[in-house]
């Protein structure tokens, strides 16, 4: 069972929070709370595509799918189930 949140959290903490993750909750909005800026979102998307071997369409680049750990888990779980 892949732990999606754990993997994505580790990537974000390492690349955007310099190891400090005390303020990153599962519900934290990356953009609203300044965790990741707009450039970083694309890096995150690239990571997700590589790590989970999938491609994310332009139409799927929505906050509901990608703007928090909870949203990412729901989005990816659905996508992986459809594969």
């Amino acid at each position: 069972m892949i732990d999606i949140k754990k993997k994505v959290r580790a990537f974000i903490v390492e690349n955007f929070l310099f190891g400090v993750d005390d303020e990153l909750t599962d519900a934290t909005s990356f953009l609203e709370d300044g965790v990741i800026d707009s450039t970083g979102i694309l890096e995150l998307v690239e990571f997700i595509e590589e790590e989970f071997s999938m491609s994310i369409d332009e139409e799927e680049l929505m906050p509901e799918n990608l703007d928090s750990l909870n949203n990412i888990e729901l989005f990816l779980t659905n996508k992986l189930q459809k594969k």
Partner: protein, 522 residues
């Protein structure tokens, strides 16, 4: 009806609050605020400031992302007669300390998201009197200033416009720009500067109260600020969306809110074209009357792709300006979009643009010289930097540092920066031309062309490229470019990146691009 004075920046808000009190001025997520509501809150803040001796001659720093609180803060400070300095929402402690030292503000208005930044910036050593926050989450102990919850402290103040005298030529704001050199410069703008420029922009964009603008650019950036002031001046509506990183959601909102106008810098449009489903929205975006673009040269490739991706009736305004010009200096009439695709157009109303040589003489024969602008929109100068101000401002106006020429029909063209003049083996290189060629290969999302000093050649050309797909490599790119360029114009260094580094305003960060080139070279 009494002729209402509109000579100060906050008059735009006050006038709209009288003529259209219940009109929706601003939409952001769940917030839909009317002119009356925003004006009332701004008045309360202004009165609080005045009550605490913050007025003419004082400065207030604003560090907020785009939201209704930002707008209230901005106009509230102006109504109190003070000057507002709006800083980038992703400013770091070093940058903030620098600004605090230079600006010496009495008040900082910010949000709980910035508490950590503020606590790490030793703001106590800068004689701040008050810190106003929209929420307080951290503990503030052992400080010499007072920390207040913004809504709470202004709550009981009157909602009427304060009755104080503010001069039109008084400092209204300081906007930091780094330009092409490292050190940030504080551009001082008076009320007249902004009011004059706002009026000109409203005129050429033909803005009316029916206009609804989608705002993805930050307000702390002079172009973003002009979106706010122009739409408030005409009694229109602004729709704030801070999630342009998810362009599909911005497009959906544009359809939902029946947006009439959209503005961006070159990277905004590159993303819209290649990282969003814009092309599939063509039939749904019927309400868009126009798109405007400024913030640097946008390649011909992107311009033509944008034209075909947008509804046929949508006009595209290409514009040029500088923070030092309160934003706008020229615009290209959209009817000339294709005929003059490489042009930045002609001067806006109230502005004169001239091409001048190094001796201060005007060039009238179509030769290349420096673009110099004059008008009521030209800044007062740089904050606390008289010598730098003298280098760019003189009796002829503002020396933009851009080189260009005027063609036979009077249309202006930019060829490059004065201080960034690239020469490779004696050949002068126009970096815009090279960027256009990269984009014309249709393999590239964005590119930055840099000149690396070379003792032998003058400059070596380097390109930092974000290709459209991961499987495009430097060899393939150069191969395509070689079909369109002579050898001496081909970059000898190419760095492929996923995305070009950008500032918070969306403009390409050339300094970080240099770092990318130098880092991998070592």
């Amino acid at each position: 009806m009494v002729q209402l004075s509109q000579t100060l920046v906050h008059h735009f808000l006050e006038y709209s609050a009288i003529t259209k009190p219940d009109k929706t001025a601003l939409i952001h997520e769940d917030v839909r605020a009317t002119y009356k509501q925003i004006n009332s809150e701004a008045n309360k803040l202004a009165r609080w400031l005045l009550d605490h001796n913050i007025t003419n001659g004082d400065r207030v720093i604003l560090i907020l992302e785009n939201c209704v609180e930002y707008v209230i803060g901005y106009y509230g400070v102006l109504k109190a007669g003070a000057a507002v300095i709006s800083l980038s929402s992703d400013i770091k402690p070093e940058g903030l300390k620098f600004c605090l030292g230079e600006i010496e503000p009495k008040v900082i208005i910010s949000s709980s998201k910035r508490e950590r930044l503020l606590q790490n910036s030793s703001i106590d050593s800068f004689n701040i009197k008050y810190l106003l926050l929209n929420k307080i989450k951290h503990t503030w102990n052992n400080i010499s200033f007072k920390v207040f919850l913004l809504d709470k402290v202004i709550r009981d103040y009157s909602t009427l416009n304060p009755d104080i005298s503010v001069k039109e030529d008084a400092l209204s704001s300081i906007i930091y720009t780094s330009g092409s050199t490292g050190k940030p410069k504080g551009v001082m703008l008076s009320h007249t500067n902004i009011v004059a420029n706002t009026r000109s922009i409203c005129q050429y964009l033909k803005l009316t109260d029916k206009d609804i603008q989608m705002v993805v650019l930050p307000f702390f950036y002079v172009m973003g600020k002009s979106l706010l002031n122009t739409h408030f001046a005409v009694g229109g509506t602004i729709v704030i969306n801070n999630k342009f990183a998810f362009p599909a959601s911005v497009l959906n909102q544009m359809v939902q809110e029946k947006i009439t106008g959209f503005s961006g810098v070159p990277s905004t449009y590159a993303y819209l074209l290649h990282r969003s489903p814009l092309k599939k929205f063509k039939d749904k975006l019927n309400s868009i009357r126009y798109c405007s673009q400024a913030g640097g040269h946008m390649s011909k490739q992107i311009k033509m792709e944008l034209k075909s991706a947008l509804p046929e009736k949508t006009k595209i305004y290409i514009m040029y300006g500088a923070t030092e010009a309160s934003a706008r200096l020229t615009y290209l009439d959209p009817d000339m979009f294709e005929d003059k695709i490489d042009s930045i157009g002609k001067a806006i109303s109230g502005v004169k643009m001239r091409i001048m040589d190094e001796n201060g003489c005007e060039i009238t024969d179509g030769q290349t010289g420096e673009l110099v602008g004059s008008g009521q929109n030209i800044m007062m100068g740089y904050w606390k930097d008289i010598s730098l101000t003298k280098k760019v401002l003189d009796h002829n106006g503002y020396h933009t540092g851009d080189l260009g020429y005027k063609d036979k029909e009077g249309f202006l063209h930019v060829v490059g920066r004065k201080d960034n003049l690239l020469k490779v083996g004696g050949h002068r290189i126009n970096s815009n031309e090279l960027e256009d060629v990269f984009l014309a290969t249709e393999l590239v999302l964005e590119v930055a062309i840099l000149g690396i000093s070379d003792s032998l050649m003058g400059h070596k050309l380097a390109a930092v490229v974000a290709p459209k797909n991961n499987d495009i490599d430097a060899k393939q790119l150069l191969g395509e470019c070689a079909k369109r360029l002579p050898k001496f114009k081909l970059p000898s260094i190419v760095r492929i990146v996923r995305v070009l580094p950008k500032g918070a305003n969306g403009k390409i960060d050339r300094e970080k691009c240099f770092e990318i080139v130098n880092k991998t070279a070592n």
